[in-house]
């Protein structure tokens, strides 16, 4: 009873804070100075039509670095936690997969992979980018697992892709210090024509590596969560 009272008190306090903030909230008509700077100079400084991409990759590149690090830590902790013990008891018979999903998986897995690659290579032109592309690639692995429950993702390949793309991401950042203005500067490569695929300096390259890294990390988490299913407890 006393616990419920505390909960309601906390919620009411938060609601009161919100209402006071809400009275001061006016519809904003103009951008903040920082956003104005990004909007007016982003096209010439970075050369990417998608301003969100230019902020994520270049202006606030450290955010992306930290985010990728957090995902890497999560993947390591999950795989450490759900470590598979080699207990091979008899597994309950599963229902066989129907032919329709097998055919659909054969047809769809390459398409989904290709879509993921499209999304992160075109990240500076259209909505999308490394994170979305990585999530789509991880989903393709889920589709494979759905069609064939005994399918095992090769952990060596995943680990290799993850480490290589992570190292390449940091290396491009360091190259930015040496050749251009600072860490993760995209002017390592020439800016090119505005609005074309090979433009905006190193942004497509960086986003591709981010996409590969996120994709392999998410697949690692998923395969750990799925692999733990096979051992009988």
């Amino acid at each position: 009873m006393i616990k419920n009272f505390f909960i309601i008190a906390i919620l009411a306090g938060l609601a009161a804070i919100f209402v006071t903030l809400f009275w001061d909230f006016g519809d904003s008509e103009t951008l903040t100075p920082l956003a104005t700077h990004y909007a007016t100079n982003g096209a010439t400084e970075v050369g990417a039509p998608n301003l969100v991409t230019s902020i994520v990759v270049t202006y606030r590149g450290f955010d992306t670095l930290g985010e990728v690090t957090i995902l890497f830590l999560v993947a390591s902790i999950v795989s450490f936690f759900l470590k598979r013990e080699k207990v091979q008891k008899e597994i309950a018979p599963k229902r066989e997969t129907s032919e329709i999903i097998l055919t659909a998986a054969k047809l769809l897995v390459p398409i989904v992979m290709l879509l993921g690659v499209y999304v992160f290579i075109n990240g500076h032109l259209t909505p999308g980018g490394g994170f979305q592309g990585g999530a789509i690639i991880a989903t393709a692995f889920v589709l494979l697992l759905m069609a064939n429950p005994d399918f095992e993702i090769n952990h060596k390949i995943i680990a290799t892709v993850e480490s290589v793309s992570g190292i390449a991401f940091v290396l491009i950042g360091v190259l930015g210090i040496l050749l251009a203005g600072g860490f993760l500067d995209n002017k390592v490569l020439p800016l090119g024509t505005f609005g074309k695929i090979f433009s905006a300096g190193a942004i497509p390259l960086i986003y591709s590596f981010v996409g590969l890294k996120v994709g392999s990390e998410l697949s690692n988490i998923l395969s750990n969560l799925q692999g733990v299913q096979k051992e009988e407890m």
């Binding site: 879509l115 259209t126 909505p127 999308g128 789509i136 889920v142 589709l143 759905m146 299913q229």
Partner: protein, 86 residues
Amino acid sequence: MVNIILQIAGGIMLLAVILSLYRFFKAGSLVDRVIAFDVMTIISISLIALITHFSGRTIYIDVAIIYGLLSFLGVIIIARYLEKSL
């Protein structure tokens, strides 16, 4: 003219969302709720296509492509969960 017709279409789609919400609550089993979820996903794709028109940015259709390709996976995994063969 085009705008008015598309607004009516949007209204009808929203009505469809509300009706499938009703089915979600008056469901006899889990499968019913999953069907309602599936229908809501499909309606959302059409709604995104309409928003493409209302906001005047054709670039939004990319979001609908991602939706159309990925949304069915959720339903498949729930189905595998239901038949106990995940």
